[in-house]
C-alpha cells in the first residue's frame, strides 16, 4: 500500500516533497540544522575563494606567457620558439646575393645542383642559409667537399659560389646574373 505522499507524487508530476527531510525542528535537531547551513556556507565561501584564486592564477599565467611571447620584440633578439617573426620583414633591394653550389661537367658546362646534394634538405631557406653561413664563417672548402661527396659521376668539379642577381631583370624574364664569385672549388672523390 502506497503512502499518501507516494500516491500524490505519482499523480502529480509537479509534486515536490519539499522540507520532508529538512523541516525545522525545535531543540537539538534545529541546532544541527543551523550548523549544517553554516558548513555549507563555509564550503561555498571556500569554493568561491578557490575560484577567485584560480582566476588570478590564470591571469598571472596569461601575463607571464604574453610577456614571454612579446619579450623578443622588446629586446630585439630573435630565437625559437620565442621570436620576433621577421619573415619577409627586411627591406629587400633590387639586387639579391645568393649562396649556392654548382657542378662543372666534363664538357666544362655549369650545372645547377639539387638542394638535396647541396644541403640534404628540400627547404630552400635551409639550403641557402647553409651555403651563406659557410661562406661567411670560412667553411666554404669543407662544405664543398661535403657536397662533392654527394654529386653524380657526370660532375667533375664542384664550386661553392655567391651569385648576384638583378631582381628587376629576373622578374621580367631576362638573364639576371650580374656576377658569380667562386669561394671554393673541389673535385668529387673517386
Amino acid at each position: 500500500m502506497a503512502t499518501p505522499e507516494a500516491q500524490a507524487e505519482g499523480q502529480n508530476p509537479a509534486y515536490k516533497p519539499a522540507h520532508r527531510h529538512h523541516r525545522p525542528r525545535p531543540g537539538l535537531i534545529a541546532g544541527r540544522h543551523e550548523r549544517g547551513h553554516e558548513q555549507i556556507r563555509v564550503v561555498q565561501t571556500s569554493v568561491m575563494v578557490g575560484m577567485i584564486a584560480c582566476m588570478r592564477w590564470r591571469w598571472v599565467i596569461t601575463l607571464v606567457v604574453l610577456a614571454a611571447v612579446v619579450s623578443p620584440a622588446l629586446r630585439n633578439r630573435d630565437s625559437v620558439p620565442l621570436s620576433i617573426y621577421p619573415m619577409y620583414a627586411t627591406a629587400r633591394g633590387d639586387v639579391a646575393v645568393l649562396g649556392t653550389a654548382v657542378g662543372i661537367d666534363d664538357r666544362g658546362a655549369t650545372r645547377r645542383l639539387s638542394m638535396d646534394s647541396i644541403a640534404r634538405s628540400e627547404d630552400p631557406l635551409i639550403a641557402e642559409s647553409l651555403v651563406r653561413t659557410a661562406i661567411q664563417n670560412g667553411g666554404a672548402d669543407a662544405l664543398c667537399r661535403e657536397i662533392a661527396s654527394r654529386v653524380g659521376d657526370e660532375i667533375t668539379e664542384v664550386e661553392v659560389v655567391e651569385e648576384r642577381h638583378d631582381l628587376e631583370r629576373y622578374a621580367a624574364g631576362d638573364p639576371s646574373l650580374i656576377r658569380r664569385r667562386v669561394h671554393a672549388t673541389c673535385e668529387p672523390a673517386g
Binding site: 620584440a73 620576433i84 629587400r92 651569385e163
Partner: protein, 293 residues
C-alpha cells in the same frame, strides 16, 4: 576601464567543455606528430652535420657541442612516440608535458644549425599550452578508461583562450617586425615584389623550380602596394579574431588567403596555418564532431 577588465576576465575564464580542449589537443598533437614524421629524414640527418655549423639557440643555447647521434635519434623517436600518445590522449599526465618538452627540444635543436625556423614557433607554443593543461579529460583514451576528476569549465576554457591569445600575438609581432625592420617603405610594395622575385631566384639557383605564377604576377606592379598594406593590416588586426563570430571567421579567411598566396607565389609553405590548425583555438571544435554524428 573596470568594465573592460571585467569583460576581459569573463572572456579569459569562460567555461568550455572538456571535449573542446580535448579536440584542440588532438589536432595540435596530430599535426605536430605528422610534421615530425614527414620531416623525419631531415631531422635525423642532423646527426651527421659538421659540428662547425652548430649554433645553439633558445633552450639549448647552453649546449657546447652537438648531441651524440644516438641521443639525438632517441629524442626524435621519443618525440614521435610521445606525440602519438598525446594525440590519442593516453597517459596524458606523462605524454602531454613530455611531448611538449620533446617537441621544444627537437625543434630548437633543428633551428640550432644556422637557420631559425619560425614557422615551427606557434606550433610549439600551442603544444606546450595544451600539454600542461587538463587536455585529456575529454575526447581521449584516458577519459574512456576512467572518469576524470570534475573541474570547473574554466579549467578547460582557459588554455584554449590562452592559445588564441598567443596566436594573435604572433601575428601582431610579425606585423610590427615588418614596420620596424622594413620601415614604412615596406608598405610601398617594392619590398614585397622583391621578396617574391628573391624566393623564385633562390629556388632557381638551388636547382629547384620556382612557382610558375611568380613571373606573370610580378609583371603587375600596381598590385604590390595594396598587397603589402593588406598583409600588415591583417597581421596587426589579428586581435579582432578574439571577438568571435563572423569577424573572427573573416579574419581567419583573410589570414589563410595570405598564407595560400605565399605558397602559390613563393613556394614557401607555412603548413600550420595553411591546414587551419593554427586557428583551431578560435573555434568550438567539439561541435564539428557533434555535427558529423
Amino acid at each position: 576601464m573596470i568594465a573592460l577588465l571585467r569583460r576581459a576576465d569573463a572572456w579569459l575564464v569562460a567555461p568550455a567543455p572538456a571535449e573542446r580542449l580535448g579536440a584542440l589537443r588532438f589536432v595540435t598533437s596530430l599535426f605536430a606528430t605528422c610534421y615530425l614524421g614527414v620531416r623525419l629524414p631531415a631531422f635525423l640527418a642532423l646527426a651527421d652535420a659538421p659540428a662547425s655549423r652548430f649554433e645553439p639557440v633558445g633552450v639549448l643555447a647552453w649546449l657546447g657541442s652537438p648531441l651524440p647521434a644516438a641521443v639525438w635519434a632517441a629524442l626524435v623517436v621519443g618525440a614521435l612516440v610521445f606525440g602519438s600518445a598525446s594525440t590519442a590522449g593516453a597517459w596524458f599526465r606523462l605524454s602531454g608535458p613530455g611531448f611538449a618538452a620533446l617537441l621544444l627540444v627537437v625543434t630548437t635543436y633543428r633551428s640550432s644549425w644556422g637557420q631559425l625556423l619560425w614557422f615551427e614557433a606557434l606550433l610549439v607554443l600551442h603544444v606546450v599550452i595544451v600539454g600542461f593543461a587538463p587536455s585529456a579529460n575529454g575526447f581521449s583514451i584516458d577519459a574512456r578508461r576512467a572518469v576524470p576528476a570534475a573541474r570547473d569549465g574554466g579549467a578547460y576554457g582557459f588554455p584554449i583562450r590562452l592559445a588564441a591569445v598567443v596566436t594573435v600575438t604572433t601575428y601582431v609581432l610579425a606585423g610590427i617586425a615588418k614596420l620596424r625592420i622594413g620601415g614604412t617603405d615596406w608598405l610601398a610594395g617594392d619590398t614585397l615584389r622583391n621578396h617574391i622575385a628573391y624566393s623564385a631566384a633562390r629556388l632557381d639557383v638551388l636547382g629547384g623550380s620556382p612557382s610558375p605564377l611568380a613571373r606573370p604576377f610580378m609583371e603587375h606592379g600596381a598590385l604590390f602596394a595594396p598587397m603589402a598594406i593588406t598583409t600588415v593590416a591583417v597581421e596587426l588586426a589579428a586581435p579582432i579574431a578574439l571577438l568571435g563570430g563572423r569577424i573572427r571567421s573573416a579574419w581567419v579567411a583573410v589570414a589563410w588567403t595570405m598564407h595560400a598566396a605565399i605558397a602559390a607565389l613563393m613556394f614557401v609553405v607555412f603548413p600550420y596555418p595553411l591546414t587551419l590548425v593554427a586557428f583551431a583555438p578560435f573555434y568550438p571544435l567539439e561541435q564539428l564532431r557533434r555535427r558529423r554524428r
